[in-house]
Amino acid sequence: MPQVWEVPLYPYRRSADQDARAPVRHPVVIVGAGPVGLVMAIDLALGGVPVVLLDENDRVSTGSRAICFAKRTLEILDRLGCGEPMVDKGVQWHAGRVFLDRRQVYAFDLLPEGGHRRPAFINLQQYRFEAFLVERIRALQAEGRPIDLRGANRVFAIDARDDHVSVTIDTPDGPYRIEADWLIACDGANSPIRTMLGLEFLGRTFEDNFLIADIVMAADLPSERRFWFDPPFNRGQSALLHRQPDNVWRVDFQLGRDIDKAEERKPENVIRRLRAFLGEKAEFELEWVSIYTFQCRRMARFRHGRILFAGDAAHQVSPFGARGANSGIQDADNLGWKLRLVIDGKAPGALIDSYDFERIQAADENILNSTRSTDFITPKSAVSRLFRDAVLELAEHRAFARPLVNSGRLSLPCTHDGSPLNGADADGLPARTRPGAPAADAPLGEDWLIDRLGGGFQLVTIDTPAPDRLDCDGIGVERVALSAADDPSRALAERYLGPADGAVYLVRPDQHVAARWRQFDEAEVRAAVARATARQ
């Protein structure tokens, strides 16, 4: 049977646009059918916005790419109707171990708190992740949802105008041109669109090389993240081992700065390294081997008129913390509803500027975390190494040093403090669900809070009266009426009420809190909806 990445999942087919006499105009054109572009297309199509999704290839990506998908990503996938198969297929994990030399110095649990539908992380190969998304697109197309996925369509020129973007595309049948009201560039870290526009992508490059190998091996090891500092099999460097589905393991070796890449990439040398790590008797096959250096950088702005950048095209981080694909999917989650409201004429174009604010805020948070992890893993000076080693030495026996060990601060969603979309906050309610925060999940008997949120604006009321529906100048706000008694575990009360008896939360279509009060006040809610949609 061929591997999933060998199958043309969206082979080239001639589009009617190629025979049109004048370039056909589309509301949204997405460039790049990687994880971010695919999620973006599904989100927009679910909101009724027709999308054209272009990819230069006709199949899922290959190579050692994203593997860890965080809880927040899984919640977004649930909203888009494709979380379940991924969680079923993925390897769930929440435990990690950190070793120094041969000794374990630290073990952690990423989900000390219960009452969440989804686990802290699943590991899933990016090619599988993409294949599930393509499957979801096929299902939506069968329902008549407007997604046009065009394989072997390579964008090679764009012309940004005030009211649209002209896109020139190469295909096996030759070039053609279309127009987009909005163009979303999800075309990866080397974004051709960014290059065509001559936009800068500035930040830090790390000099250390890393060998990343995905290997197929039947090993009886637990599903946890293992990280080594200065192990005997890779002296003076680090190593990482992570489990993926189907007996695939991700192995990541730090190689140092001045290395002979061609030499290191040779299968015999890779196999020698892996044998030193896994034992002489270990049986495995190499799936992919690559050598990387890492960058932490971002564009100065993600919005350029009618062109929007998302995912790695807009920002890049080191892999420590799994903040690449996860943050890109959150970009799409943030942009989808805003673009829909603007396209439907329900919000002004200024709403799109808040994408810039909120996702740059998130990118900066991710870059900061990722840079700090990389500096801990690959110290840049003698004193940095001295303190790093001191932390690791102390961590084994002294609990205080364990929080200082940084082998990757794993992806958490950004709380958009200070966002221009945030409305009122009420005193005394818990900080974690303040305006700008992603709604925290909580169990509701057999059901989960997070599954009842998203898609449109909602008014979550807890033990507080409010109308079932409000119409705010064309934007409907549906009530989700809850009681603290719905959750005997008290997680709902703890996460949304604190000491209060009741509360009202305005939740955005991307499940982030927009504003909150102790009780319902219609004028207040209308003002908060206006603010959250940039109408005022």
Partner: protein, 63 residues
């Protein structure tokens, strides 16, 4: 706001000083450096207060 204590605060200072130097006895330069780093981390955690730690870092940089 808590302030970094920069007035004498250690009982029998000569004894403390001898203990600090004695701690490094017989250690190579590298081992001494590592010990100092561990000591700084232990003391910093004991102090805990970020503002006091910042003041101490500033004071150390500009004696």
């Amino acid at each position: 706001m808590p302030e970094l204590i920069t007035q004498p605060n250690i009982d029998r200072p000569d004894d403390f000083y001898a203990e600090l130097i004695g701690l490094h006895e017989g250690l190579a330069r590298q081992e001494s450096d590592a010990l100092n780093a561990r000591l700084i981390l232990l003391l910093a955690n004991h102090i805990g207060d970020r503002e006091v730690l910042r003041q101490a870092m500033r004071a150390a940089r500009r004696p």
